[in-house]
């Protein structure tokens, strides 16, 4: 049985439903990310789980108990905020000790647990500092320590890394994953950054307009988005609307007017639903008009409109009869603007979405 489950939950704000008939399950020990653009309802979901918001309808079950009406301060969930939300008037030590003292622990035990937790987040020696005297990364680690030291039944993160600079963000997400695994703590993590979500999660839920569009392992979502929305959100930059499809041995044959394409069929049907073809800019291949091109079908001819240098690769906008396609390709001798090229769609990479 799932540790956490939201059942037909509805949340409204200003007479407008943010979540409606919302369902979500999470197993013990897992890290689930809620991923989506701002306004998709991911933070609302998190705040509902935390108890900062009340559901208009539906039920929130946790560890077999009805938590719908349990107030925040009785839930024993750790929450890490985007703004860190440290107590500005307390030292690092007192910040971390806050939850333990409320639990009436003996000061000796408080000290033991705070010290150990500051070790886990590598902040030994910072006990007497005030939050104002710490860097962003250090503050976030204090916030994590403060949430973890109470041994919460559930850990909640609300965009914890978005105020940090890029390098620190990568280090911190590795830290978060390490600590989460070390303590085996069930976690819900909200972010709008797909790389962040994919890199640390067991499960990712891609959300749109208050609904979960797809909930799956990061690799599954990354390779086989379940809808056009998810595909767009996670970087499938190219789409073709097909008019017909039929099974053809190990492939699916797709048609658009006189054009024929093939997409690889998969046993579990992942990436095989619907009539819209989607492919990443990285997965398209460009060829000059050389005669010995040894690919059959799945090509379009076009003209390079724009060529942009991205550092590791070039990005091309190629005008074809089916519109403009974006292609990223590493090469020493890049195509020039106006050059005739052939765009090749590898059938294993061409994914179908409803």
């Amino acid at each position: 049985m799932a540790l956490l489950s939201l059942e037909n939950v509805a949340v409204a704000y200003d007479n407008h439903f943010i979540l409606e008939n919302f369902n979500l399950q999470l197993e013990k020990g897992q890290l689930l990310s809620l991923l989506g653009p701002s306004g998709c309802g991911k933070t609302t979901t998190l705040r509902l789980i935390a108890g900062f918001l009340n559901a208009e309808q539906g039920k929130f079950m946790f560890a077999g108990k009805d938590y719908t009406k349990v107030p925040v301060d009785k839930r024993n969930f750790g929450f890490v905020f985007q703004s860190y939300a440290l107590f500005p008037h307390m030292t690092v030590y007192d910040n971390v000790a806050f939850g333990l003292r409320l639990r009436k622990l003996k000061e000796a035990d408080v000290k033991k647990r705070v010290t150990r937790m500051l070790e886990i987040v590598s902040l030994e020696g910072f006990e007497k500092r005030l939050p104002g005297a710490l860097s962003g990364g250090q503050r976030q680690r204090v916030a994590i320590a403060r949430a973890l030291v109470i041994e919460p039944d559930l850990l909640l993160f609300d965009e914890p890394l978005s105020n940090l600079d890029a390098n620190l963000r990568v280090n911190m997400r590795v830290e978060i994953r390490r600590i989460q695994q070390e303590l085996g703590i069930t976690t819900v993590y909200v972010s709008h950054d797909q790389e962040e979500c994919f890199s640390i999660s067991d499960q990712v839920a891609v959300m749109n307009k208050g609904k979960i569009e797809q909930l799956d392992h990061p690799t599954a979502i990354f390779k086989y988005p379940a809808s056009e929305y998810v595909a767009r959100f996670i970087g499938f930059g190219n789409f073709i609307s097909f008019e017909g499809r039929k099974d053809e041995g190990a492939d699916i044959e797709l048609s658009r007017g006189a054009l024929q394409f093939r997409a690889a069929k998969r046993a579990d049907g992942a990436g095989n639903q619907g009539l819209t073809g989607a492919i990443r800019p990285d997965d398209l291949q460009l060829y000059g008009s050389m005669p010995d091109l040894d690919v059959e079908g799945n090509t379009l001819t076009g003209t390079v409109q724009v060529s942009t240098y991205l550092g590791r690769s070039y990005q091309y906008q190629v005008q074809t009869e089916l519109g403009v396609f974006t292609v990223n390709q590493e090469m020493n001798d890049p195509f020039r603007q106006g050059e005739e090229v052939t765009v090749y769609f590898p059938k294993e990479k061409l994914v179908l979405v409803p």
Partner: protein, 262 residues
């Protein structure tokens, strides 16, 4: 450029003389040894400073002023802190209206407010003068308390409050242990500003004082109507020093920028 800045300096100097000149003259004349206010004074004496302490009505009204300002301050805090908190923390219908209502005593001319309070508290409801005076001063202090504390709360990240609750703290515990300590200087500044506003108030007090109950500013008004000696100048100097000291503390606590920004 050089020429311009010299003209500007001169202009600024003139403005300062215009503003501070009368205060300097009052201060100087307060040391007059004679019985009539004169400038320049004919000597130096602390005679009129001593007189303040010898005229019992000054000491009595000073005591009344202090008590009314302090008690009223306490009442205004009890009403104002929760109000400021609610106005800053929650979004609810009618919040802007309520905000405007709380600030309205500053917008209504004091004389109108004073007359209205007299008409209702004393004439219609027959409250004792002292009680009426206290209520009047609470009313004029409330907007300052709310305004200053609300602006102090504006810099407070309410996620901090949520953090405390998620760690197991009740709303009340959070308010006293987390919110209050972080707006302490704002509250202190609010107390001092409201105190000055109340202590120096004339337009409300003039309606709300009566036989046997008066505040220091009202007593001073009455005194200058009958006497021309430098006692009032001496009191003025003492009040100026007191006010300047309080303003200095307020400035140290919050900085004046706090009041110029909205």
């Amino acid at each position: 450029m050089k020429e311009n800045s010299r003209v500007l300096s001169l202009y600024t100097l003139l403005v300062f003389i215009f503003l501070l000149g009368p205060l300097v003259i009052i201060s100087v004349t307060s040391f007059e040894p004679g019985t009539v206010l004169k400038f320049p004074p004919e000597g130096f004496s602390l005679r009129w400073y001593k007189n303040i302490f010898e005229v019992s009505m000054f000491m009595e009204t000073f005591k009344t002023s202090i008590i009314v300002s302090m008690l009223g301050n306490l009442l205004a805090l009890l009403l104002g802190v929760p109000a400021a908190y609610a106005l800053s923390r929650f979004k609810f219908r009618g919040r802007d209206t309520l905000n405007a209502l709380f600030l309205s005593p500053v917008l209504i001319p004091g004389i109108v407010l004073g007359f209205t309070l007299l008409r209702y508290l004393i004439v219609v409801y027959g409250l004792p003068i002292y009680t009426g005076l206290l209520i009047g001063h609470t009313v004029i202090m409330l907007p300052f308390i709310i305004r200053v504390i609300a602006s102090s709360l504006q810099n407070f990240d309410f996620a901090v409050e949520e953090a405390a609750q998620s760690l197991g703290a009740s709303r009340l515990y959070t308010f006293f242990k987390v919110v209050l300590p972080n707006i302490r200087s704002g509250i202190l500044a609010a107390i001092l500003i409201a105190f000055l506003e109340s202590f120096n108030n004339v337009d409300i007090s003039v309606f709300m004082t009566g036989p046997g109950v008066s505040t220091l500013p009202i007593q001073m008004l009455t005194y200058v109507q009958n006497y021309f000696d430098p006692t009032i100048a001496a009191i003025s100097v003492i009040l100026m020093v007191l006010t300047a000291a309080l303003m200095f503390i307020i400035e140290r606590l919050m900085g004046f920028a706090y009041f110029t920004k909205r």
